[in-house]
């Protein structure tokens, strides 16, 4: 199994060498050059990530990173996985694809169908990976993308191992990547429409006030009983831990947990058995902290001890493992 780690312009050559030495096999990143930023800002980005620090904003820096990564015999993938683009964006966008290709990028991550078809028309010898943001939740979707020329499917964040097993068994000619560490969104990326930006935090992390009511049908609503309210409020408190609301992670995470966040260490064996070929560390924007995740996965793979007890000891915060709310897979 390969370890695929998200990087950005913050990481330097020694940082890349360190990640590779810890076991990273592939690196993926986004690009947000000035000429794009000047017109579309970062919230209508070239990809799904919308903070400047999550990208490479300088082609020379990316060129250098590609050279380092290739010298280490590792691969580099560039994500152009915004959910949608409009016509006026295409000249710049396709120019960025062309530059990436000419710089020797090994694969592109794509979500939008128009972009997928336009890249295919270019006949570049480059692999296409279908983004987790495309929503491959079933066998038929994977078959469709396979028929269009995709090399790899990146599974969405919220899938069970059994669901992925079925899809892989039904489409054996593809590579499959799934999330293993860091940055699990509460909602489904393919169907989440607010942009990150324009608010203090992402929409899903906004600290809204909330009230619970009962819907009796049509326009009839009413209040809930105190018991229902208490049950909901208790559930809400636990959901905030699951969704890693700011208050919860500031309370229960140890400093090293911030560098790992959600995790699937103890599922690695099962993921290998079903045919997952790459484990994704979703660390764009946090490339300087990603070494710990790579190190922990590498340790589990090298020791070939996939037991829950061992993985728990590697994660080193048994309390959050027992809670199960930071697990990618249960």
């Amino acid at each position: 199994m390969k370890i695929t780690v998200g990087i950005d312009g913050q990481i330097d050559e020694p940082g890349l060498i360190k990640l590779a030495s810890l076991g990273a096999d592939e690196f993926f990143c986004g690009v947000l050059p000035k000429e794009w930023y000047d017109i579309y800002g970062s919230s209508a980005s070239t990809g799904r990530r919308t903070w400047m620090l999550e990208h490479y904003d300088d082609w020379n820096k990316l060129k250098k990173a590609i050279s380092v990564i290739h010298s280490l015999k590792k691969k580099i993938i560039v994500a152009f996985n915004a959910l949608s683009y409009y016509e006026e964006q295409y000249p710049l966008l396709l120019n960025f694809v062309k530059i990436s290709y000419e710089l020797g990028v090994d694969a592109l991550i794509v979500s939008d169908m128009e972009l997928l078809f336009r890249i295919l028309e270019l006949n570049y010898k480059i692999d296409i990976h279908i983004s987790s943001e495309s929503g491959t939740y079933n066998t038929a979707t994977a078959a469709l993308f396979a028929s269009l020329g995709a090399k790899r499917i990146i599974f969405p964040r919220h899938m069970t191992i059994e669901e992925m097993r079925g899809i892989i068994a039904g489409n054996k000619n593809l590579e499959y990547e799934c999330f293993i560490m860091e940055q699990r969104c509460p909602f489904d990326g393919a169907y989440c429409t607010p942009v990150h930006g324009w608010l203090k935090s992402s929409f899903c992390q906004e600290d809204f006030k909330r009230t619970l009511h009962k819907h009796l049908g049509n326009e009839r609503v009413t209040v809930v009983s105190p018991d229902e309210y208490i049950k909901w409020k208790d559930n809400r408190n636990l959901y905030e831990i699951w969704a890693m609301g700011v208050n919860s992670y500031d309370s229960i995470l140890m400093p090293r947990d911030y560098d790992i966040m959600q995790c699937g260490l103890c599922s690695i064996k099962k993921l290998a058995e079903i045919g997952i070929t790459s484990l994704k560390i979703s660390s764009r924007g946090f490339s300087l902290q990603s070494a710990l995740s790579v190190q922990l996965i590498g340790k589990v793979l090298r020791n070939a001890d996939f037991s829950e007890a061992y993985c728990k000891s590697v994660r080193a915060n048994p309390g959050i493992c027992d809670m199960k709310y930071m697990c990618y897979y249960r």
Binding site: Y40, G41, S43, S84, Y86, E87, E88, D112, E114, F117, R118, E121, G135, T136, Y137, N138, T139, A140, A143, L144, F145, H158, M159, T160, G166, P186, F187, D188, A190, Y191, C192, T193, P194, V195, W198, L199, F203, C204, F208, R210, T211, L212, H213, H215, L216, N218, E219, R220, V221, T222, V223, V224, E228, W232, N235, L238, W242, K324, Y325, R330
Partner: protein
């Protein structure tokens, strides 16, 4: 127990006024004699709510009695959901009348295309990736770049290769939400017809359902494999920010919608678009309104 229209329940007024919204905003724009001609049945957001074949048959009987056409609405699905949908498709395929199916999943679109030529796919609003931001409801952010705004007002559905693909898959209708920043797309000569949903704009959705975990033990909560008790059919949550006196740094608070609701696994915003906005949509080629008298879940 007090029911309906209680002003102390924040947000309830909005729900109480959906029909009024229809009567005051939408109705005057419709041609005299316009009537409901079609019933949308099913669910867009959760495969646990896919209707059974018996439920579908009951609704088809009602539709026939009321002389309404029927559109089956489907969510994004895993293989388990595909199986549930296939049972409904098998039945609908045999009907004399060609039935519309709203698809919100590439796999469902492929399934229809490959196996059910008698069913007519409609490209649902979840396949439409336009930005939906409650924060834009009353005012766009200061400092928004013209290019950014254009990107928010458009999506890729009418671009040539995507369009060719959709037409090859039998899609002739695309569906939209009304979004606060406006839709700058024209369907008049696009080869597609277009619908918009009114007045509930969906914002985001996810397979992990907060309210669906309410009656589960802590170890089963928020687990994809756990079964809910369909709490979404009972409760809703109103999300709001408290007003503040600040007029500078809190621009987003005054600009944001006050009518954001979570029902089940999905967050919706009540559309507050004034009449001219909707009138313009008709001029842009929208020829179907999917009216939702209550939460679409």
């Amino acid at each position: 127990m007090p029911v309906s229209g209680e002003s102390y329940m924040p947000g309830s007024k909005a729900i109480n006024n959906v029909r009024k919204l229809f009567a005051e905003i939408l109705s005057p724009l419709l041609e005299a004699g316009s009537r409901f001609i079609r019933m949308y049945f099913g669910v867009e957001f959760c495969q646990h709510l896919i209707p059974t074949l018996d439920e579908l048959k009951s609704v088809l009987a009602i539709a026939d009695e009321k002389k309404l056409d029927i559109t089956l609405v489907t969510p994004y699905v895993t293989d388990e959901g595909l199986l549930s949908l296939s049972k409904l498709f098998e039945y609908l395929e045999k009907r004399t009348k060609k039935t519309e199916v709203v698809v919100n999943d590439f796999g469902v679109l492929k399934l229809l295309h490959d196996n059910y030529p008698h069913l007519k796919p409609i490209y649902g609003r979840l396949m439409n990736k336009m930005t939906r931001m409650p924060r834009f409801a009353k005012q766009l952010p200061q400092g928004i770049k013209p290019g950014q705004l254009k990107a928010y007002q458009r999506c890729s559905l009418l671009l040539p290769l995507y369009k060719k693909f959709l037409l090859s898959m039998g899609v002739e209708r695309l569906e939209f939400d009304i979004v606060s920043q406006g839709i700058k797309m024209d369907f008049s000569n696009s080869q597609f017809r277009a619908s918009f949903y009114y007045p509930w704009t969906y914002i985001t959705t996810g397979r992990v359902c907060e309210i669906g975990a309410m009656n589960l033990s802590p170890e089963k909560k928020f687990d994809l494999e756990a079964s809910c008790r369909r709490e979404c059919q009972q409760y809703y949550v109103h999300l709001f920010e408290e007003e503040c006196g600040c007029t500078g740094n809190c621009e987003h608070k005054t600009a944001a919608s006050k009518y954001i609701f979570q029902k089940g696994n999905t967050i919706f915003m009540l559309c507050e678009a004034p009449q001219p906005v909707i009138k313009n949509l008709f001029l842009q080629g929208f020829d179907r309104i999917v009216y939702e008298p209550c939460f679409p879940i």
